[in-house]
Symmetry: none
Subunit: 209 residues, 4 copies
Amino acid sequence: MATPSGVEASNTRDRILDAAVEVIAERGYSAAGVQEIIDRAGTSKGSFYFHFPSKETMTMALLEQMSNRLIKRVQEAVQGEPTPLHRVAAGIEFLLATFSRHRKVAQVLLVNLMGHGRTIDRRFLPIREKLSELIKGELDAAVAQGQIECQDTSLVAAVWVGALHEVIMRWLLTGQPSPLSGVAPELRSTLLRSVGVDPAMFQPLQRRA
Amino acid sequence: MATPSGVEASNTRDRILDAAVEVIAERGYSAAGVQEIIDRAGTSKGSFYFHFPSKETMTMALLEQMSNRLIKRVQEAVQGEPTPLHRVAAGIEFLLATFSRHRKVAQVLLVNLMGHGRTIDRRFLPIREKLSELIKGELDAAVAQGQIECQDTSLVAAVWVGALHEVIMRWLLTGQPSPLSGVAPELRSTLLRSVGVDPAMFQPLQRRA
Amino acid sequence: MATPSGVEASNTRDRILDAAVEVIAERGYSAAGVQEIIDRAGTSKGSFYFHFPSKETMTMALLEQMSNRLIKRVQEAVQGEPTPLHRVAAGIEFLLATFSRHRKVAQVLLVNLMGHGRTIDRRFLPIREKLSELIKGELDAAVAQGQIECQDTSLVAAVWVGALHEVIMRWLLTGQPSPLSGVAPELRSTLLRSVGVDPAMFQPLQRRA
Amino acid sequence: MATPSGVEASNTRDRILDAAVEVIAERGYSAAGVQEIIDRAGTSKGSFYFHFPSKETMTMALLEQMSNRLIKRVQEAVQGEPTPLHRVAAGIEFLLATFSRHRKVAQVLLVNLMGHGRTIDRRFLPIREKLSELIKGELDAAVAQGQIECQDTSLVAAVWVGALHEVIMRWLLTGQPSPLSGVAPELRSTLLRSVGVDPAMFQPLQRRA
DNA sequence: AATGAATGAGCTTTCATTCAT
DNA sequence: AATGAATGAAAGCTCATTCAT
């Protein structure tokens, strides 16, 4: 499953987006040529520009689609958890598992769409911003419920997102750890400690892979 | 002080590197044209290629110079501290202060030189790798001295580097917090907690800016 | 008639090839810029590189096209002749007449595409190689039929090709003789003598042009 | 002995010329950069332009030096021969032997300095022109002495030069025949026949290699 | 005589985008 | 909706030549 959607797309627009993920993951944004994208998508220049006004627009559409889909899935995956802290922990585990299965999506989302001039920088934040907000929301809830002490949840959320990002990036560039999800327990412990929770006291629910 | 060296360079090679930091910070690596770099450096195409065999080589030289210089300064800044944990804490504070003063260096180092094909990816890691190693070294020493409990210091180092990276990136893209070094106390607390140290028990030395 | 095809080409690819012959003939291979070629062809840079992957590839395509076309025409022109020796003689006359009418093709084929690094050198040989083989074939047939004595036909073919080349090159550079085909009778006599045939005994058929 | 002079030159000017032969033989005229020439000559840009006003001028000096030297040596080598025809035959043999020992000189003289815009074309002829004149002179003498019949000696000279050129070029590009001078007897026979002389009736003097 | 950093016009090649079909 | 030839600005890079030392 290397496509953002996870299935072979049947309409041209989605085939273009799927091809774009592949090419951008392999070459980086700037070196990803429209020609190669349409070659892999099995369509034509004209078709590309019929569906998207520009390469940049298409990239932003790609970004938005991937971000939204990912966030939605995280939220779904986390619904059954009993407490805010359980939800964040589960969310982090889910993210590691998901990126592990969609290496190229991870690469594009976390590595290849950065630093290409302001326009994309700004639009790139959403995934981290939304993740941050998700985490901050749960942390705030945890504070409200007395699960953790009062603290700068905004900063903590940033720390957690940065930690996740770093761990995944290392995996992308070095292949370690293999599998990626192997770090989940230790990472969860470290992050829980960072908000003053004793990992030993925190019993996660049993969940599927 | 926008130049990597912090002073107006007088030889051509350094003027090119200084100009490159500026242009790459403003436009990103791919969009940073040799033409604009030499325009700002006040030199010529031929001169550029007399000093560097290619744009890529020049970028790697830039990266190496900046990384080495930064790491060296961190090490110097941290020498006087009494314990390993004091040293990491001081190092983080120093990094925030330094990047705060060299915004463009931070941007280039942490944002703009990623995702441009393997060659630069691989060479890009050093700054994070070295930072990671520095931190891991101190954490290991802290474990050895009984300052903190035994744990996966490699993962913790990654978490700390990721946290730093995230905090700085947010500042680069949003300007918050202002000044950047304002987060230092809270960040230190969060990171110390993550290794099981009570921030309240940890008394930093008094230090200059 | 300065175009390889002899007629104004209507498709872009052929217009590029025709323009290339002109420019290469005037300036030599290295000094023949893609810019000037496309200017004369009335097309654009992008168009050039849409039709050919590189300037070198295009030059080789040009070479191949011209060689094949020329060889084919020589073979056709020579079909009606009664004996091997008549065929070679007619072929030489035909070549002189053809180059006489296509000065620039001659220049490119025989002068301008030599000595530019192995790649083109190797591909350049075909026209001489093929001509050599054509001549050697007829000489071998002449030996088999007892028209001439047994001898190193391979060397003789080389001598004849060299003689032709030299005569044409002088004409290209000095304009002498005018017309080029004026040397045909004397050249034929000299070459026939070189294989031991008395030119006076050799009665060519009557032919056009 | 790969240098035009046959010995390691001791003054800068000659070291440049020697290096130029090497580089031009290896890369062709256009691709032979001044930088590589001075690198091999062990001197500097400034030095090059102190000794020669331009690359082109230097090339012409090279050409002239090589041509004059070669022609002079041919004339010396041929002095002892009894008849005009003996002299041409000896000259051809000497040329083959000489080029055989100075492969790069042959390459530069016969292959690499052709087809690079009018200026060099014109200056390039001398070697062939002078060779032609040498041969024509002897042929005229042979006619005057009744050694051969009256004929267009100018054309015959061209044919002979072309034959030589072709044979040497094939050797340069294919390495055949090895050694080059192996073709001398057959070539002499063919050329003698081309002026109506029975090779069997022609007894060359004994000479050193 | 010699050095080598500097120059800048020019090179081949790329690529997002357009448009007639 | 789709095609693909065409466009042209701009890219990275080369190289003969100059000049202060």
